[in-house]
């Protein structure tokens, strides 16, 4: 028997989080660990309210989202064209793909010292690190998507007299769209992971800095509040990008 996902089950979707909070509250109430190491969910909720009212949490979230947007969009704006080039040209692939693979395998966090040395602290190093995290996967996946477009599409295009910029707009881009959208979801998630690390070390604000600042101030309630915020925004980002997969002209990539 196959299980079908019910279309509307908002309550069911809350069951997991509710159970987690219940277990967390129970553990905290048992005082198995000192309160300075294991905050009670109520304390975290209070901290969250405090941070929200002071406006600090909102400012931090905006700072982090700005950096992720800038780094991620830059990576997509440069990575997709480079992927198109590599996908179309075997020579370019032979020449550059090993390099792309090298940088993709290099943790973006390893760039943190250079990022600070070259760009100081604040927005530029964080944007740089997010770019380094997202750019290479975008290039690689666009390359693979272009290289695997069935040649029959290009033959049909030729028969129909579609060429030049029209071929890119009407054939290549729509043919790779589903795969590229999947990559965007993955790399946006990756960027959101990286921004926290970047801000912890090279930031003066942002959610990563909030985590670090709370830890330095021994405010574990605020630390956990920042973590909850980071997780929730990450989920929201993905939900936002999932909307792209609902565009009618890309559904074919997910339904067959």
């Amino acid at each position: 028997m196959t299980e079908t996902t019910p279309k509307r089950a908002p309550l069911l979707a809350l069951a997991g989080p509710a159970a987690l909070v219940a277990v967390w509250a129970a553990l905290a109430s048992l005082r198995l660990f000192p309160e300075s190491l294991f905050p009670h969910p109520l304390a975290v909720a209070r901290g969250l309210g405090l941070e929200l009212r002071s406006g600090r949490l909102v400012d931090d979230a905006i700072a982090s989202l700005f950096r992720v947007s800038a780094g991620f969009l830059l990576a997509v704006a440069l990575g997709v064209p480079l992927g198109l080039l590599l996908g179309h040209s075997t020579r370019a692939r032979v020449a550059f793909l090993p390099l792309v693979n090298f940088f993709r395998s290099l943790s973006p966090l390893a760039w943190i010292p250079f990022a600070i040395l070259w760009l100081g602290i604040g927005d530029p190093p964080a944007i740089f690190l997010i770019f380094m995290a997202a750019f290479f996967p975008v290039v690689l996946s666009t390359t693979a998507a272009v290289a695997s477009i069935p040649s029959v599409y290009f033959r049909v295009a030729r028969d129909l007299g579609i060429d030049g910029p029209e071929l890119l707009r009407d054939v290549t881009l729509p043919a790779i769209a589903p795969q590229v959208i999947t990559t965007l979801r993955v790399t946006a998630g990756l960027s959101w992971l990286v921004v926290v690390a970047a801000e912890m070390i090279a930031g003066r604000d942002g959610l990563g800095f909030a985590v670090w600042d709370a830890r330095n101030g021994l405010r574990i309630d605020l630390l956990a509040a920042a973590m909850v915020t980071i997780g929730l925004i990450g989920v929201a980002l993905d939900r936002l990008l999932v909307q792209l997969t609902k565009i009618p002209s890309v559904r074919w990539g997910y339904e067959r």
Binding site: V152, Y153, R155, S249, R256
Partner: protein, 255 residues
Amino acid sequence: MRAAETLLRVQGVSHAFGGVEVLKGLDFEVHRGEFVALVGPSGCGKTTLLNLCSGWLRASAGAVQTTGRVRMVFQQDGLFPWLTVDENIRLGLRHVHEDPERKRRAESLLALIGLQPFASHYPHQLSGGMRQRVELARALGGETDLLLMDEPFSSLDYLTRLKMRGELARLLHEQPRTVVLVTHDIEEAAQLADRVLVLTDRPGRVRDEVRLELPRPRDATHAQVVRAVHHILTELGLETDRETVAVTNGREERR
């Protein structure tokens, strides 16, 4: 009566991939309004020949000349999956520059293949037979002079294939075209073509030419179709019964 215009002329064409000779010294012509089928053993270069005719490949030796607008209909999905049925058909009408005229023609093509209710469906939401009908409509839309078909129905089940042959005969009756059909389905060739060119094993040459002067649509079990199938299968060494009457060049001859 003056002979019909030659739309496709294949002269002394040979083709090799690397060291492998696929086609050797082919000569034939296709005239306007004709339906020619190419059959032969698997790997004999049928599809290569079609690719030479479409200009996708350039022959190693010899010349391929075509006249007019040439379009190919493919065996796998040649429809763009990101476009709806209507948009795919309109793509075949790119040369029509006035929007209302293009819309009108797209609608009449949709009506011709009987898929108006599916105009805004995407290809992956259709059955294989429906997709192939859309593909035909798109190819017909281009006022194509020469239609090259590469095993267009081979991915369909037998009954759908039979239905599509009838459909193709009907479409060609409504909108006459010159057709070169590559198929491994001898019955399909005999049911549709005016002339069947039987190719030899690799390297492919024209081994025999079978003419059928029978109006379309034809039943798969029509005596002349059955005789042509038998003749071709015998040519290919797949049937040996010498009792049956074969058809060559329009004449019946007893063997």
